[in-house]
């Protein structure tokens, strides 16, 4: 897990695949092989294959020769799987993290979104879809900074 904690997400390199909750588990099989369970964030996320390769490379470099990667869909990935450390790293990187428990609430809920630059809650959604499937475009009304917000999902 410590090795994978250093594997960056290809689209948001400030956070690791462990921070994002993409790594769902590590197991040692009866045959001594290391099994890694990964889950995709979005079905069409183009980073999924890249993540698999990065995970394999990182484990290989750390001396794990016998690695099996398994992709699981259930339970479906949600933004609640992003760790506390991951949330802080996103904020520091300039991306507003999704609020906790967001996945169970309505997507149209009127949560206050804080500007990652000045902290103001006076912000607005510019576009529901941003530069990657997992982000929406927002702008701060106080400091006018445009920023990405991790979509509640």
């Amino acid at each position: 897990m410590a090795v994978l904690g250093l594997v960056p997400d290809p689209e948001i390199p400030a956070v690791s695949v462990v921070d994002l909750g993409i790594v769902r588990g590590l197991f040692t099989g009866g045959d001594g092989a290391l099994k890694v369970r990964l889950t995709p964030t979005y079905t069409g996320c183009p980073a999924t294959q890249l993540i698999e390769r990065s995970v394999r490379e990182a484990l290989d470099a750390a001396g794990f020769r016998d690695v099996a990667i398994e992709t699981v869909l259930a339970p479906a990935w949600s933004t609640d799987m992003i760790s506390e450390a991951g949330r802080e790293k996103l904020r520091a990187y300039g991306i507003a993290p999704p609020p906790r428990g967001a996945a169970s609430r309505s997507l149209r809920g009127g949560d206050a979104v804080e500007c990652p630059r000045c902290g103001s809650a006076d912000t607005r959604e510019v576009s529901r879809f941003g530069s990657t499937p997992c982000k929406a475009l927002w702008q701060c009304n106080a400091c006018h900074e445009p920023f990405d917000r991790f979509k509640c999902h």
């Binding site: 995709p40 979005y42 079905t43 069409g44 996320c45 183009p46 869909l73 259930a74 339970p75 479906a76 990935w77 949600s78 996945a103 997507l107 149209r108 510019v126 576009s127 529901r128 879809f129 941003g130 530069s131 499937p133 475009l137 979509k151 999902h153």
Partner: protein, 253 residues
């Protein structure tokens, strides 16, 4: 092939083809949308739909058990072997027409996948649970545009009405059932499309009311897509989508 497996294969093909063909249609907007935000939105929708199609068609291939995967099914079938509904293969038209099509399809698809989350087929339930979260965003986005254009200028309103009028004729087909699907419903695997129609009509009516538009089911209902009877527009779409894998069948990145 045993009958239940064949029925499941056909069902997964229908769901997968709907997502695939609409996803491919939406990619035609890439670089042509009215604003950069809309361009990104439509590309994201296309990506989600193609991702869903990949999961559904891969599973279809496994059920069929003839060694076909999602790529094989997407790139090496001809138009008459596609079982998507006619709505998704229609040309994009103008932006209002694209949004009318998306509005009808995503509202239907959200209801469909929400029901499939509790399918007796665990793999299908898993895929649906993943897809419904994405499709919910699509339906919201399309509804926002129906309202914005419908409640906008005279021109945007006229175009929105024309778009909705054109696509109404393809709505009934999305809810049509046949014997094979009824058998799957009996086994708890598939969704009774007729049973979700009321919720669909309500959602459409609520959004149109917000847009200041009237619900006016118009046009002679068209169908045939599920049996492989398509318009020539699908052939053109497939020609573009399939040309590379057909020219170089074993090519890999």
């Amino acid at each position: 092939m045993n009958q239940p497996a064949d029925a499941l294969f056909q069902y997964l093909l229908r769901l997968g083809d709907d997502s695939l063909i609409l996803g491919q249609r939406l990619t035609e907007w890439c670089g042509h949308a009215p604003t950069i935000e809309v361009d990104l939105s439509l590309s994201n929708l296309a990506l989600d739909l193609i991702g869903q199609a990949t999961l559904l068609l891969d599973y279809a291939g496994e059920v069929e058990d003839k060694g076909r995967d999602a790529d094989r099914l997407a790139f090496h079938r001809d138009a008459e072997q596609f079982t998507n509904c006619l709505l998704v293969e229609q040309p994009n038209g103008d932006f209002a027409q694209t949004m009318a099509r998306q509005f009808f399809f995503s509202c239907y698809s959200e209801l469909m996948f929400a029901e499939l989350e509790t399918s007796a087929d665990p793999r299908l339930a898993e895929i649906a649970a993943k897809a419904v979260k994405e499709v919910r965003y699509h339906a919201d986005l399309a509804a926002d545009w129906v309202i914005r254009l419908g409640d906008g200028t005279d021109e945007s309103r006229r175009r929105m009405i024309e778009g909705l009028d054109w696509f109404w004729r393809f709505v009934d087909e999305m809810f049509a059932m046949d014997a094979a699907e009824n058998a799957l419903v009996q086994r708890g695997v598939a969704v009774d499309r007729a049973a979700i129609r009321e919720a669909f009509d309500q959602r459409i009516a609520a959004t149109l009311a917000q847009a200041g538009l009237e619900v006016q089911a118009s046009g002679w209902p068209l169908s045939g897509g599920r049996e492989g009877r398509h318009g020539e527009e699908l052939s053109r779409l497939l020609a573009e989508m399939q040309v590379l894998p057909r020219a170089h069948p074993e090519a890999v990145w």
